[in-house]
Symmetry: C2
Amino acid sequence: MRVTADDVAAKAGVSRSAVSRAFTKGASIQPDKRDHILAVANDLGYRPNMMARSLTGGATGLIAVVVGTISSPYESWFLEVLSQDIRSLGMWPLLVAVAPGQEIEPALDHALAYQVDGAVIAAGSVSRALVERCSAHGSPVVVIGRVLEGGGVDSVCCDNRAGMEMLVARLAATGRSHIAWIGGRLEAFSNVERYNGLTNALSARGLTLMGTRNGDYTVDSGMMQALALLTGPNPPDAIVCGNDAMAIGAISAARRLGLRVPEDVGICGFDDIPAASWEPFSLTTVANPVAETVQEALRLLTCRMADKTAPAEIVRLPPVFRQRLSM
Amino acid sequence: MRVTADDVAAKAGVSRSAVSRAFTKGASIQPDKRDHILAVANDLGYRPNMMARSLTGGATGLIAVVVGTISSPYESWFLEVLSQDIRSLGMWPLLVAVAPGQEIEPALDHALAYQVDGAVIAAGSVSRALVERCSAHGSPVVVIGRVLEGGGVDSVCCDNRAGMEMLVARLAATGRSHIAWIGGRLEAFSNVERYNGLTNALSARGLTLMGTRNGDYTVDSGMMQALALLTGPNPPDAIVCGNDAMAIGAISAARRLGLRVPEDVGICGFDDIPAASWEPFSLTTVANPVAETVQEALRLLTCRMADKTAPAEIVRLPPVFRQRLSM
DNA sequence: TACACAAATGAACGCGTGTTCATCAATTAC
DNA sequence: GTAATTGATGAACACGCGTTCATTTGTGTA
């Protein structure tokens, strides 16, 4: 049923070796013979079997892509850019979706059985043991959106501290004094960094956080936590959210309570997802440099595929302040 | 470097056949021996090489997933559900992202070289020739979101006509008379069906379409087209949009012009993406049954993988009317 | 024409696995 | 106690490909 190189060889009247060479760039074969073989192959609908090709130790052309909640605005945006860049490298993304509660290890272990040439991990909690297992398996790993302490692992991450400083500068410039924080999942690396970045930047200006609540990075959770903050005692005049989705929820919460944004309460987010610029929100935020992040991640990955002994790099990319109307 | 079954066999003191049997469910092997082998394998970090396993004609466990603009709210939602359901089948999604302008054929052709066990196509224009090429290759295909005329191809599709009738019923109930349409990409199957469904349902009630414009299914395009409609001569008192994203853009456009929704202009969409229920929009729409669609698609796919001669099915799933505040 | 050398070609090998095929031990049936 | 049956085991094979290794063909020089 499947058409193999033998079929092409038989129909073209050449040896199977010739067929293989016709598909191998730079192989020693007469040009007209190669053309003939390729024509026959195309006629028969033949394509070299990637599974067999990779068996001899060659590359599979597969890259495992570990992401979390695909439907979230930020992750889907990221996945789109990443999958396009992987394809422009001539490779294919093997999608490994890890929902917030799920374990990343068994999932990635399974994917490793496909002899992926590399893995991009942008979700879940990554242990050093996991990274080393992948490396030992011959699949270099790049971690995105977090930095493993102790180094030794290539990683690309937004400079969350710098981003928070930009937001706090705006906070100070607009004279906010009662500032609250709505964080994401407590264990998330970005959440920890952004929270610390915020408190540090605030204290550097003699400001303090008046309220703290935690959601789960969804719009709904942002709305709930903002409602709690704004209806509680001593309501804030500014809410800094751990990501844009929660900030959008917070804006909706403020409006439901009849508060004006930014006059009564300023609200800002983090990431600059597409929805942040939609008119009803016009969210002041800092842009997570997704395109550059993906580009750097794949650069690191290809470097390491070529030279496994190269020292690990940690790339910190600066975000860009986006002032809109919400603060 | 890579640990193979031979390594496990050597360390466990058994033949390589025994190792293979230990990993094959239902194979003839002593239970304690199997346990021992599995323990040694786990110790060495061994996993059967899927590439080699599939070489003998076995299944690869890969399913090609063809989607379009991943970052769009609807597609990312769909992809999340699909990828989870594929994994719960014990298989893996090979992501094939086809941007609106790109050709689906060469991309899918490449993916076929990985001997995928099946393909779910939810984007791009699908020709019968393409489907037959996949089938000939041993990879059954299920098409989602469109129906190939002439049948012969398994497909799952929302009943767009029924959805439009629901919306028109609401349209009539609220006494709208100047109705406009903002469509998506002209060549898109869903766009054609929804447009025809709308005009048919309108004429059945003695209504006609007063204006027609076309965007590209994005929020921005919905905003642009709605601005043009609402500032033109004889502005509509209702706008039906080809999807929710454009409807969200249309709501923003109306508000920018100082119009009240739904009092001055009613706006509705299609799909019921998560953002449709966000408070600033509260979009009246019809829910595209994504979970059921994915479920049916995978049911058809697994059926066809088991029996390639089964007759093709066309499944039409009814949408659900979601009345909110925008109309 | 004779020789050296490069280019092109086909046979054979190995990649890691599941499976078939004999072989052998252990049980059951008579 | 013997024959028949079952269950477990290891060797060998096939899967489809890239690549190496001889071997053959073609080209340029003396």
